[in-house]
Structures are given as structure tokens and as C-alpha cells.
Amino acid sequence: MTESVSTETAEAPFLTARWGALQAIRNRAYGLTVFILSVLVIAGVAAGVHAKMVGSLEAYGASREIPWGILISTYVFFVVTSTGLCLVSSIGHVFGVEALMPIAKRSVFLAVATIVAGFFVIFFEIENPFRMAIYNVISPNLTSNIWWMGTLYGAYMVFMAVEFLLLVKGKYRIATIIGFLGVIAGVAAHSNLGAVFGMLDGREFWYGPFMPIYFITSAMMSGTAAIVLFTWLAYKVNGKKIEPATARALEVTTKVGILLIAVILFFTTWKFIIGFAGGESKIMALESLLTGPYAFNFWVLEVGVGMVLPLILYLQSKGKNLSLMALASAMMMFGIFFMRYDLVVVGQVVPLQHELSVNEYPGLLSYTPSVHEILIVLGGIAMVGLVFLIGEKAFGGHVAEAHEGGEH
């Protein structure tokens, strides 16, 4: 992956010409990618606005029985990634582990980008987002996890954005304090998001203390994948050779990732074993993942692409083979997207009145994302890509300076 590109100005005229040609290709590829991503974002906005005009009943696949679909799961995916970026990178820039310092700026920047993409998607999911802005403030319900989650994520986004600006300005000491507040808000917000599901005692698949714990841990797993993938991509985009300190940071991140994949595999195993000792509705949901309509999602995408193969690749890379690590991270992010989808949808596929054995609900309910929903999701993903690419140019590759530099 290191190609023959060098950041040093070549002395021989031949090399200079070659460098110039490569640079031109890179610029063109950059421009084209920015264009495509912009089109996707615009398409997402158009789909969302159109959905608001015709109503969610017509535009979205979600229904009375399955009110939460791919827009909610994608929101979860983005905020999981954001929280993970914040938590994993905070090991360095908040808690002072030197090895992880070089990835701090980009991680914080991407944490802001992904939470914004999350809000973008949820804006089109919430039926009356403008009422939310008013009544979340003047009529708060303090027993509602949704209220806490929304409010804390709002605070989190502000903390992370401010922290990023402070990092850019080199004010590391204040950045550490704000970063710490960001970590607190992020953990509180994210565990509340888990509790949004975990406290619904009418939904056996979700109910219980597992959700908040699982959410935080899997956020960190997502965070490691996002850091490795985007750092690798950034060096590709900027046409630079990765510095030893950054390579070392990615090595450490990969090791953290290995641990977290193992933890999530462990959690997932026990979730199933314990679930099968539970009620009929819960077993039905679990079976839909193991052998039913969600088996491909579960075995191939979640377990295979999302965890087991990346775990093997991470181990094989020994934290040194960046291409392998980037591939593993990309696979993880792809798999995790479906992990969130299954988490949200499978929690609703068993009819609430299943145990009445009535003719109206003979088996599992089904949900298929609509074109509108898919376009909004793609718009959100493209938004992260776009912000990332623009960020790399605007902030000069998020170059890490010695942290002491700004503190005099």
C-alpha cells in the first residue's frame, strides 16, 4: 500500500514529472469522489424532504407493528461510531496514553462528522423535528431515555466540536478538559440509547440491562474500526507516507480492536444462550437470526464480515500490515451496519400479541426498507465521506503536533 509515492520533492526532473502526474490523478479522483458524495447527500435530502411532504406512511417501510426501521438503525450506527471514535481516541488525548496521541485530531473530527450524520438521518425519521426542538426544552420528561439521549447527544456534539477547535488551535490543556466532558456526555448518551431499547419491557428481545453495556462496548469496537480505516484512507487521500508514530498508534488501536471484537463475540454468544432459556417470543426472535429470515444478515454479515474475519485479519496483520488492517476495518464497519439493523428490526418482528395465537399474527412480521429510506441512509453515509474528505484538505491531514507545543 505504500506505493512509490514520496512526499519529498524529487530532485530528478523525471521524478518531478511523475510526481506531478500522480498528483493530478489524485486531484481528479478527489474531485470526482467529492462530486459523487455531494450528489448522494443531495439525493438523501431530496428523498427526506419528499418523504416529509407525502408522509411517512407512504414514503417509509416502517409501520404500526414495526415503527422503527432502517433510519433508526442507521442513526444508531452513526452514533455508535461517533461514541466509539470519541472513547477510543480519548485514551490518548484525554487520558494521556502517548501512543494514541497521533490519531486524536482526526478521531475527534470524525466523531463530530458521524454524530452530525446521525442527526441528519434522525431528522427525517422524527415526524415533527421542529416540535422536538421546542417541547424537549419546555416539556421534558425526565423518565424518558429518548429525552436524555437526545439532550446528552446534543451536549456531546457541542463538546466534541469545541474540543476539535481547541485541538486545531493547539490549546491542548483546555481541550483535554472539554474532551473529558465529551467522554462523560458520550457514555451517558450512548448508554441511554441502549436503555431506549433495554427499558421496553414489552419487547423481550431488547429488555434488560444488557443493552446499555453492549452499546458502549460495541461502540468502542466500531471506534477502532473507524480509526484504522479512516486514518489509512486519509494517508491515501493526502498522498503521504504514514509516519512511524501514526503507524504505532494504529498498531495499538488494532490491538484494542482485537480485544473488543472478542468481547462482543463473547457477549453475543451469551445473549443467545441465555435467551434460549427465556420466553417464547424471545426464542422466536433469536431463531429468526440463527435460522430464519435474518440468518444471512447474522451469520454472514454480522458474525462473518463484521467480526470473525476482521479478527483473523487483525491478528494476521500483527498491527503492522496497514492494508490488511484497513480491509478488516472496512469489513467491520460494513458488518456493524447490519448488526445495528438486525438489532433494531429483529426486536420488533415478533408480534406483540404473538402469545395470543390469533389469526391476525400468524408468524413473524416483516419490514423492507423503502427507496426513500435507503436514499436517506446513503445520504448520511455520503455525508460522512464528504466531511471527511473536506476535513483532510481543510485541516491539512490533521497533522499531530507535539502536545506540549501549545501549552506554553
Binding site: 408522509g55 411517512s56 406512511l57 416502517a62 404500526r64 407493528e65 415503527p67 422503527w68 425519521e125 422524527i126 415526524e127 415533527n128 423535528p129 416540535r131 422536538m132 417541547y135 424537549n136 416539556s139 421534558p140 420528561n141 423518565t143 424518558s144 431515555n145 429518548i146 429525552w147 437526545g150 431506549v196 427499558m199 421496553l200 419491557d201 414489552g202 419487547r203 420466553g279 420488533q348 408480534p351 406483540l352 400479541q353 402469545e355 395470543l356 395465537s357 390469533v358 389469526n359 391476525e360
Partner: protein
């Protein structure tokens, strides 16, 4: 409101006990016996009247302290009388302007092919107006709330942000999103359309030709709903008791 509901409570209770010629203690012992009997005969699948009463009314005074609604609107459904004529569903839709794609109440159909008696049964369902409503806890803006006077779970349309958490939280699928009102909609025992206009019953209960749905005040020992819920000779149950939401819609037979 608190005072008015508590003061008449004690004499009522006493009067009731005198009428029955039994003390509270004797009554509870009798109820426990009933639980054992129904438990045996129903193979443990039915929730006996006793268990519901014990769960919802820990004791009547304690209950009145905890849920001091006056009137305490409630419904008991005589399930086996339902013939699925759907007049209740139509009356509800008409009275409450329920759109085509939604419903506040519906009738589910259960088949018992192995039964030696009738092989089909119909189960009317609606919002259970729970004493411990999962939807109310989950709503971020208090758009859905339990009315402090009468215990009806209501929706303030203007505050609903449409996050649909209440729809996910409700164990009974009692809610849907109404595109016209831009708000989650649900049964409110016809509060705005009938009860507040002086009517004493809901549209569905009034429309029912078989007297399946009996609507009334659970805090009034003279009301039919009270008498039926407290009839220890009959099985009375609620849906999904394991969720702990304490429904105010009861089911019985006969």
C-alpha cells in the same frame, strides 16, 4: 381531587364489607383459595380473578392512595360474547375520526380446532389505560400522559414529536401514527368526543349489540365494571401481565 376521592372511600369500603358479610381478612383468604382452585382447573394458563385483583388492587385502600382517580375509567370485556360484527370498530372510527390506515380498537380472532365447544373466539383489543403505562414513561415530551383525574392515557397532539417510542413501548400495539393530526393517536375512552360531552359510555361499548364491552368507573363499587372485576366466581384476566403495566382493561367470560 385527592381528598374527594379518599374521604368517601373508607365508608364505601366498610359498606361493601358489610354487604358481603365478610371482613377484609376473610375476603382475602377466600380469594387466595379461589386462586388455588382456578389455578388447578386452568392448568395455570389463566390468570384468575384473584391474581388480577391482588395485583391491581394490592388492597383497596392502598390502591386508592396510589391511583386516586375519580372516576377511574375502566373496561371489562366479556370475550366469549363477541361475534366479530365490528360495530364497535366502526363506531370508534366514526366518532373519533380514525383514518382508514389506523385503528384505536380492533377484534382479533383466535381458533381452537381441538375444542369440544366453539372453535373460534374473538378478542376485542384497545389501549389498556395502564396504571403503570410504558408509553408515558418513554415519551420524551410528556405528549402522552395519564390524566390525573380519571386515569385515561391521553395524547397532547401538539407536543408529539413523532419519535414513535410510545408505539415501541406499548405492549399491546395500541398506538399508530396519524398523518392527519401529525401525532400518535390512540383510544382515549372517547374522552374528547363523548365523555366530556356528557355521555357516560364509549362509542364502542354503546355500539356493541352483545354487551361485550362494559365501560365504567372502577372506583365505584356500585358500577357494573367494579362488580364484574371483583366477581371471584369468574375468571378475570388482563393481557400480558408479565410486563407489569397494570392494565385497566379486563377480560372475562360469561
Amino acid at each position: 381531587m385527592d381528598l374527594s376521592s379518599k374521604t368517601p372511600k373508607a365508608p364505601e369500603k366498610q359498606e361493601q364489607d358489610e354487604n358481603n358479610g365478610a371482613t377484609e381478612m376473610e375476603r382475602r383468604t377466600f380469594l387466595k383459595l379461589g386462586l388455588a382452585i382456578t389455578g388447578v382447573f386452568a392448568g395455570g394458563t389463566l390468570l384468575s380473578a384473584v391474581s388480577v385483583v391482588d395485583k391491581v388492587f394490592a388492597s383497596r385502600q392502598e390502591f386508592a392512595d396510589q391511583y386516586p382517580y375519580k372516576p377511574h375509567y375502566s373496561m371489562i370485556i366479556r370475550q366469549d360474547n363477541c361475534i366479530d360484527c365490528e360495530r364497535c370498530v366502526q363506531a370508534c372510527a366514526k366518532t373519533n375520526h380514525v383514518p382508514e390506515y389506523g385503528y384505536r380498537t380492533r377484534i382479533l380472532e383466535q381458533e381452537h380446532p381441538e375444542s369440544t365447544d366453539r372453535t373460534r373466539e374473538f378478542i376485542p383489543v384497545l389501549c389498556n389505560h395502564c396504571n403503570n403505562p410504558a408509553c408515558v414513561r418513554a415519551c420524551p415530551t410528556k405528549a402522552t400522559y395519564k390524566n390525573k383525574e380519571n386515569g385515561i392515557v391521553m395524547v397532547d397532539k401538539d407536543k408529539c414529536i413523532g419519535c414513535k417510542t410510545c408505539m415501541s413501548a406499548c405492549p399491546f400495539n395500541g398506538r399508530y401514527y396519524n398523518e392527519e393530526t401529525k401525532s400518535v393517536d390512540k383510544c382515549n375512552f372517547c374522552f374528547d368526543t363523548r365523555l366530556s360531552q356528557g355521555e357516560t359510555s364509549t362509542a364502542c361499548a354503546s355500539a356493541c349489540p352483545a354487551k361485550v364491552r362494559i365501560f365504567g368507573d372502577l372506583s365505584d363499587p356500585q358500577s357494573e365494571v367494579y362488580k364484574r372485576v371483583h366477581d371471584v366466581e369468574k375468571s378475570v384476566w388482563v393481557q400480558r401481565p408479565e410486563t407489569g403495566v397494570k392494565p385497566n382493561v379486563f377480560y372475562t367470560k360469561g
